[in-house]
Symmetry: C2
């Protein structure tokens, strides 16, 4: 019934302040009091450490068993503790999934930001390609995390939008930033003919432009959205093995080809001079 719920619930291109759950609130309180130069008590330190251990072990299990098979009891065993004890730190299995979701989204976001940041400011294609390669590299390294974020929804699990929307939108925000700065530099123009935009879609795209203060035209925003979903489509096909094992023996070459073509779709010039 609630299977087809997505990970990013309210406005993937929107986000607001994170209101944290009860456990996270506790940590948040700790942090805020720590900000007032009061050090953590030993109990608080132990608690933070234990939650971190649980997330770390959870990620290991996620990598080996997958999201749907993630077992709190197994995590408890690895932690050297009885199963009921972990409920002191994590409200439920879903809460642990949420923590892992945020962890993974942030790791992906960090790696994408770092990769994009390494390319020169004016090399728009280079920054776009760096983003794409960072997504692919992370996805291939962490297939279970990638599945959790971009694969089928975990049955019965609904990600809390207020905690996952911000980390979950970092890649598209970064991509839009790259395209927008190319547009402002006069380096963004659709190669082929552009279809006429129907009114509702045009309105949605106008809202996105307004929200981000974009100078690029709506048609190019629409193409950016297509490139975004196409990028993840290509990565998903590779991570989920949809090509079959023998069809492409050098998948990185195929991906580079796709990146070149997609850059053209987005309106980016193929390379810097």
């Amino acid at each position: 019934m609630e299977l087809p719920e997505g990970k990013v619930k309210s406005g993937a291109l929107f986000w607001c302040c994170c209101s944290l759950s009860w456990h996270a609130e506790a940590v948040d309180d700790i942090d805020s009091t720590a900000g007032k130069s009061r050090p953590l008590t030993p109990r608080q330190r132990a608690r933070v450490q234990t939650v971190a251990d649980i997330v770390r072990l959870g990620r290991q299990h996620l990598a080996t068993d997958g999201a749907a098979a993630l077992s709190l009891r197994a995590v408890a065993r690895d932690l050297g503790v009885v199963s009921s004890a972990v409920y002191r730190y994590v409200e439920s299995r879903d809460e642990l999934l949420t923590l892992l979701l945020i962890d993974a989204f942030d790791e992906l976001g960090d790696e994408v930001d770092a990769a994009v940041g390494e390319a020169p400011e004016g090399d728009h294609f280079g920054r776009f390609a760096a983003l794409g390669r960072a997504v692919r590299t992370w996805a291939l390294r962490e297939p279970a995390c990638y599945s959790l974020l971009f694969g089928s929804p975990v049955p019965g699990y609904n990600a809390p939008a207020d905690r996952t929307t911000a980390p979950g939108t970092r890649v598209i925000v970064s991509l839009i930033g790259i395209l927008e700065s190319a547009s402002r530099a006069g380096c963004l123009a659709a190669a082929g003919p552009s279809p006429q935009l129907p009114p509702t879609l045009a309105g949605n795209l106008a809202a996105i432009r307004k929200q981000f203060g974009l100078a690029m035209p709506e048609e190019l925003v629409a193409r950016g959205v297509l490139v975004w979903s196409s990028l993840f489509g290509a990565v998903s096909f590779e991570v989920f093995n949809q090509y079959g094992p023998d069809t492409f023996t050098a998948p990185a070459e195929l991906f580079e080809h796709h990146l070149s073509v997609l850059a053209g779709v987005a309106g980016l010039p193929p390379a810097v001079g």
Copy 2:
């Protein structure tokens, strides 16, 4: 450990004769003897009917609970039978998943073929768009099946390649057929500049061309693969709710836009005159 295994194991663009498993073999034997005009025995008829009922109930549960939560016990309850009884008909939960996988692949393939067949032979864009719309329509109607086929792999489950490869490749085979006939009609040409193909990728694409007897150049085959993964990327984003609920209020319009752009990427002229 075995999570990141895909659904289509050996050569997604290849396929061979299906060798069926023990249960399916039994049914196969029935069919072949039936071919010799010997009617099914009452037991055999009952057996075929029961397996069909199990698959039907399994699909219902798949739709409501998702693949990872698919429970043989629940299916048994709905069948009005104790859980151990269904093991007479289905080897394991994984076997049921395989049956559902094949069922879903075939349903998708049938609907795509029917949609493509309705468009005029020479309307290459129309046939391409019909394929895309059929995939999207089916995916939105059967999100759980779509998740099973194109979402994260089910943990611990490995689809048997010999039984799933043929039904699993029907969409890409259809897409390649559309592009090839456009190419033979002289209606296929890449719009933008084409990147140089590195040797390994060129070799893989040459193998695909040879396998299908394609006249279209390798660069256009590569673009076809990109369009294929992009199509499913767009559908996945919509089915898995990656856009957020409020970003695009008319997702069909967005998809139509994507189809137009993707047709250009593949080298198809936007519409028939």
